[in-house]
């Protein structure tokens, strides 16, 4: 197992309590930052660390922090994005549930750096029990003097609250999240202005993912340069990967950036290989929104180099033969999986979650779901396949927020890499009537037949 910067103490009994967490060296970053560093020095360390946002887009965290309008006379806010609703992603829940003080500590240190006096953790409403775990941790931190007035006797004060969502994937989009936090429908805002200028209550705001904020703890403790030594190139540090699907050991793994994908899937330290002794068919590497890749392209790039778990390596080949690290939701499919049915569940998801504000996404997501439903259930036509490609293209890039893209990419990539399987559904409607069609008789691509 590689270096653990976030989950090192996760197995320590009682780590969810303040007492044990503190005993294991917890809250050191708060002491170090508040007592020995200026807020700008903390931001500088985050910049040096090369930390990139862990919520999906991978935007450099230090740069985002430096965009925050510090000249405004309005209060500044830090809002933690704990909405975690991207299918395949459950790392934030794991972190908050098992080691809640890590997030609380990261929130305090980061709020200090940004000059926020009130900060919020926006957590998806379905995680109600996790909200209570966080609230307990926050109460303990208040009691120990790490939150509230004059933290550790300094003149820095901070209040921290947890705010529940109520069932809406779109509220993970940062401006929809802010709308929701203001008590409104989760309709994403038009940008600009960006939250750094006018975010929560039209005040300068930084929105960061749970894992991003947690990573600030080791960054401050080790120093940004030290942190940057972990990982490769512009993918610094460690990353939490949520592994699900047809593997022997689903779960959350902290990996050092740069781990080969093959090792991640087959090593017993991580996923432990494909279940039931079956073969790997495809992987969605970064949450449902990113392009799906067939086995041969997820293990090796089109150039034949081993694919690594980094932002760059996963994206190698662009959308023709690559994908994205995204939120780190690693969904593995074995040889019996019907790519069309899996895609249909994704399309249904985006249709269900579109906020409905802009026409391409509101109308296009439903259209794609209906066509996919038809194809999967044996009522498709050959022309439907190109229709799907075209509808996806008409949505992509033309919407208010990236949910439209997120709905379009899986469709485009599944057809790009698995077109034959779609055609099979059209040609043999009788064979796909049973929902478990490929479990009964796995689909064999003609490409494979040629190779044998």
């Amino acid at each position: 197992m590689g270096r653990q910067l976030l989950l090192e103490h996760i197995a320590v009994p009682g780590i969810e309590t303040f007492e044990v967490y503190r005993k294991m060296g917890g809250y050191a970053s708060v002491e170090k930052a508040l007592k020995t560093m200026t807020p700008d020095q903390v931001t500088e360390q985050v910049k040096n660390s090369g930390l990139r946002g862990r919520g999906g887009a991978g935007f450099p965290a230090g740069m985002k922090w430096s965009f925050l309008d510090r000249k405004s006379d309005k209060p500044r806010y830090l809002v933690c994005n704990a909405d975690e609703s991207e299918p395949g992603t459950f790392k934030d829940r794991y972190l908050m549930e098992k080691i809640p003080h890590l997030l609380v500590e990261g929130m305090i240190t980061s709020s200090y750096a940004l000059g926020a006096k009130t900060s919020y953790i926006y957590i998806r409403g379905e995680y109600m029990y996790v909200l209570q775990i966080l609230e307990k941790a926050i109460r303990e931190a208040y009691a120990a003097g790490f939150l509230g007035k004059n933290i550790l006797g300094t003149d820095y004060s901070l209040d921290l609250y947890v705010h529940p969502g109520a069932g809406a994937y779109i509220c993970g989009e940062e401006t929809a999240l802010l709308e929701s936090l203001e008590g409104k429908r989760g309709n994403p805002r038009l940008k600009p202005p960006f939250p750094a200028i006018a975010g929560l209550y039209a005040s300068p705001t930084v929105v960061n993912n749970v894992e991003t904020i947690a990573a600030v703890v080791p960054i401050v403790n080790l120093g940004g340069d030290e942190y940057a030594k972990v990982g490769v190139g512009k993918s610094t540090g460690t990353k939490l990967i949520s592994a699900s699907g047809h593997i022997n050991k689903p779960g959350v793994y902290e990996i050092e950036m740069g781990l080969p994908v093959e090792e991640f899937i087959y090593s017993d330290q991580y996923c432990g290989g494909i279940w039931k002794g079956r073969k790997l068919k495809a992987v969605v590497a970064g949450g449902s929104s990113v392009p799906i890749l067939p086995a041969e392209l997820i293990l090796k790039t089109a150039k034949g180099e081993p694919r690594l778990m980094t932002y760059e390596s996963l994206a190698d080949g662009g959308f023709t033969s690559g994908t994205m690290l995204g939120s780190g939701g690693f969904i593995v499919m074995d040889e019996t999986t019907c790519i069309v049915r899996n895609l249909w569940t994704f399309a249904r998801f985006y249709h269900h979650e579109s906020c409905g504000q802009c026409s391409p996404c509101r109308e296009g997501t439903g259209w794609m779901e209906k066509v996919l439903h038809r194809i999967e259930h044996g009522h498709g036509q050959m022309s439907d396949i190109d229709l799907l490609v075209d509808v996806a293209k008409k949505i992509e890039g033309n919407t208010i927020c990236p949910l439209g893209d997120a709905a379009a990419w899986p469709v485009a990539s599944a057809i790009r890499h698995f077109r034959e399987e779609f055609e099979y559904h059209v040609k043999y409607p009788e064979k796909v009537k049973n929902p478990k069609h490929f479990e009964i008789e796995p689909f064999v691509s003609s490409k494979q037949l040629v190779m044998v």
Partner: protein, 334 residues
């Protein structure tokens, strides 16, 4: 001031002007269509996406193009910006897509719609749409409902531009209707039956780009087509009293506010002028209202409403606009 080039024509506009408004100052064919933006309603725009344009050069300081198409109604210009609207095949293709999206769940019941003839969606479909639809799924439908005793809501026709909710927020003091549900199940509604009732609530009808909100007091005896729009005014304590009377012979069938060439009302009118003065004697009639190219008076007598027919129908009416006599519609020939 900022210099922008739109489809090759340069114009100087005040800083902060949106691309759409810069194009409107320029006028002509390069003005992008707009279905949700409404200049007098704060916060409007950005939603329908029909106004997408390409920014081929961001500004003179940073000449890089913007990678995605942008909503011209909500993107401010920058000095040295180069914008492509009609000159970009990418824009035309994307717009065709948006029009198709707007139409897939639209009932295309133009023959029985009050708005026929002054519907922005009809115009849009004609100018920017494809002539066939590829949508073979079931269309979304809603029941017609009354929101108050003066306004009828045909939700099936709504394109969710949010304008009517903005009118209620910005012109009246008690909004009782809004957008409920989400995604393609979103609908305009009061949730529980409540009357929309306020001195200025009737303006919701005028800002609606389609026939989703219609005037129940419209004495709908013939198609809009056979009514003659006349500019008129009366002295009113609540509003400017400047309206358009939709008349047949000497009868006032309907009263609306005056729209400019982009279909926007600049002076909203009160409900009294709108609903309570259906007597020609109440008004000083100024003369016939000039109808310009943007409000294609499209009257519909076709029974089968596919896009091709729609297109032909509008074509027929555009001919009329140009001053030619209107060829008879199908059902009048007998």
């Amino acid at each position: 001031m900022a210099k922008v080039t739109i489809d090759g024509i340069e114009i100087e506009v005040a800083d902060g002007t949106t691309i759409l408004n810069a194009a409107r100052q320029l006028g002509g064919a390069s003005v992008p269509p707009a279905m949700c933006y409404y200049s007098s309603l704060k916060g409007s725009g950005g939603k329908c996406r029909v106004c997408l344009v390409k920014v081929a050069q961001g500004s003179s300081k940073d000449p890089r193009p913007i990678p995605k198409l942008v909503a011209s109604c909500s993107t401010p210009v920058a000095d040295g910006m180069v914008v492509q609207n009609l000159t970009s095949p990418e824009v035309l293709e994307a717009r065709k897509g948006v029009v198709e999206f707007l139409l897939i769940n639209h009932p295309l019941d133009c023959p029985v719609c009050d708005q026929a003839g002054e519907c922005d969606l009809q115009n849009l479909a004609y100018e920017h749409g494809a002539s066939t639809t590829r949508y073979e799924e079931e269309r979304r439908t809603f029941e017609k409902i009354d929101i108050g005793d003066k306004i009828k809501l045909h939700m099936t026709r709504c394109i969710l531009c949010y304008r009517c909710t903005m009118v209620a927020n910005q012109l009246t003091d008690n909004r009782v209707h809004g957008v409920l549900n989400r995604g393609d199940a979103s609908e305009i509604s009061t949730y529980i039956e409540k009357a929309v009732d306020n001195d200025f609530s009737g303006n919701m009808i005028d800002v609606c780009p389609v026939g989703a909100l219609t005037d129940k007091t419209f004495r709908f005896k013939s198609r809009v087509w056979f009514t003659k729009p006349m500019d008129a005014h009366r002295s009113c304590t609540k509003c400017s009293g400047k309206t358009v009377l939709w008349m047949k012979d000497n009868e006032v069938l309907r009263v609306t506010a005056r729209k400019d060439q982009y279909g926007e009302v600049k002076e909203f009118i009160c409900n009294e002028c709108r609903y309570d003065h259906k007597n020609a004697a109440d008004w000083t009639i100024e003369g016939p209202r000039h109808i310009d190219r943007h409000s294609v008076i499209a009257q519909n007598h076709y029974e089968k409403t596919d896009l091709l027919t729609l297109k032909k129908e509008i074509e027929r009416q555009i001919e009329f606009q140009k001053g030619k006599p209107l060829p008879l519609a199908l059902d009048e020939k007998k």
